[in-house]
Amino acid sequence: MSIFEGILTGFQVALSLKGLSFVFIGVVTGTIIGMIPGLGPITAIAVMIPITYGMDPALALLLMAGVYYGSAYGGAASSILLNAPGESMAVPTTFDGYPLAKQGKAGKALAIAALASFTGGTISVVLLTLFAPFLAKVAISFGPAEYFALMLMGLMTVASFSSGSTIKALISATVGFIIATIGIDSQTGTARYTFGNINLMEGIDFLVIALGLFALAEVTSLIRERKERSMFDSEFGSMKLSKAEVKELSVPVTRQSLLGFIIGVLPGAGGTIASFLGYITEKKLSKKPEEFGKGSIVGLAAPESANNSASSGAFVPLLSLGIPGSGTTAVMLGALIVLGVQPGPLMISDHPDIFWGVIASMYIGNVILLILNLPLIPYISKLLKVPKPMLISLVIMFCIIGVYGISFRTFDLFLLVIFGIIGYFMARMNFPAAPMLLAFILGGMMERSLRQALTISDGSLLIFVQKPISATLLAIAFLSFIVPLLKTWRKKKSSGDGEETNSQAS
């Protein structure tokens, strides 16, 4: 099937009445979830999984794509209106978005964010359409050694690019991998670390970990802020842009859409790096850098198009290799597997309807987001008036339904609470949670391909370095692990006090 035929098949699904209505529901729900501080795309997708249970996979994916884009935009809206970025990716949006809102130009800021996201999303979906099938073709020749090396590299780069201490990120990833070893070993049938508990035989469901670490743990910060009146009350303003403004934005937005896509395709470097990098490069290239941070429209548009573009770019390795490169795509992978779809190089030939359906749904999700949210956003933002105490109760309830609707076991609910507690302490001690979730998801796959590769080579580790692709990938993985560690060590030696940290802007 050619790319063109494929896309047509995809659009047939996406443009049906059912398809459109699911994208619509997804976009609105996603926008609302994304607006709630602390809840970002990861939580939004995780909460939707039990709802899509038993749905036609193609339609379920349309819903997911809507939720995905909606939550990214909702995050931008709360950054602009409340100066409350839902997650690290939306932080640069506050730099110029919130000043604009304070000047009474909230409407314009939201319109710019929507247009920039739309452009970023659309450009990168076009690139995804062209690039993913190509990469899948290459990936068909991959054996277990290459897969193992690739996943290890993805994990290492996520750990070393995450904010704060590299050691903590690596610990987080190792613990995630350790949790993945709980359950029946698929190759020998040995029960590992189940302590005779039947509930642990199948291992821990990833949704338990995702909702626990990300949603339930965030509830505690909502509890602390429950008395704060964070409502947006200054003037909303018009949402119209002038021709001069559109002209001023067009070049930076296109540039950041392309850059964002490239960053998104690289494993590990996701939306956060893209949006910070987008902000910094546009500030350097701008003729009016002094306006940045005071309400520059370019400063608002650049990170928005970069992070949306990177988020779609991250689908390239997910769809063509079956390997998630970030926390969000890891949850997306889980969602796909729950629906009975295994992404990977064979997906295009085995399930062309679903592969192209996903891509088509991204085009549609983007368009609907734009035409829907522009007029609706003033009303949707009123939902932020839901009193915090009520909101906290509702978020907890959704986490519980999410997990219970998958397994129907109260045991998993207790696990959910345990992961919520772990996530709470991780956040307080600056351990990043995304590497843990990603390692948990990749862990099972990595162990399988490692053991397959070693079975082929009869136990010799040389198989990983004899194959050029795997050797290169392992070298990159090793470097991304060792360089940040050396940097910390050298800094400590030279400055003596060790006060300087290697926390990057990511």
């Binding site: 190759q187 040995t190 509890i223 009520m390 339904i401 300087e500």
Partner: protein, 148 residues
């Protein structure tokens, strides 16, 4: 000197990795399997042990733990208690009743004062979710003591 966060966490993680390693070494072995089920856990256990030693000796980024404002710890613990009650009562009492109790009590406890709207939301929401799940999505939530 175990007065810093990194040192405390380093020790806790080292203990965890040793326990994990202990269980890894007790896993049964099978003949004729090139890589047995204990191989990856043993490697992981040693990596974690190594990293916890590194963390113990790393000096950077200390004292970053935020202190909770007074009384907030108790509030969080109370909410945790409500959540545990929610889970324990979910199957015996049923989804609608338990969720109603949870939302109304938890919201009131956290400072939501309007009783009427509290009751309306905490009754209408679980009911609509229940019927959405059971009749539309065909996902059976526990009905408990209620007859439907």
């Amino acid at each position: 000197m175990i007065n810093t966060m990194n040192k405390k966490m380093g020790i806790i993680l080292a203990v965890i990795s040793i326990i994990y390693l202990y269980f890894s070494f007790t896993l049964p072995e099978y003949p004729y399997v090139p890589v047995d089920s204990d191989a990856v856990p043993i490697v992981l256990g040693f990596i974690l042990l190594f990293l916890s030693v590194l963390l113990y000796f790393s000096k950077s980024e200390e004292n970053e733990e935020e202190k909770l404002p007074k009384g907030e710890g108790k509030v969080i613990l109370a909410v945790l208690g409500f959540v545990l009650m929610f889970i324990l009562l979910l199957e015996p009492l049923g989804f609608v009743l338990t969720t109603f109790l949870f939302i109304s009590i938890n919201s009131r406890f956290l400072g939501y004062k309007k009783w009427v709207s509290n009751i309306i939301v905490s009754l209408a929401l679980p009911l609509s979710i229940y019927f959405l799940f059971v009749s539309f999505l065909k996902i059976q939530l526990p009905s408990g003591i209620l007859p439907f």
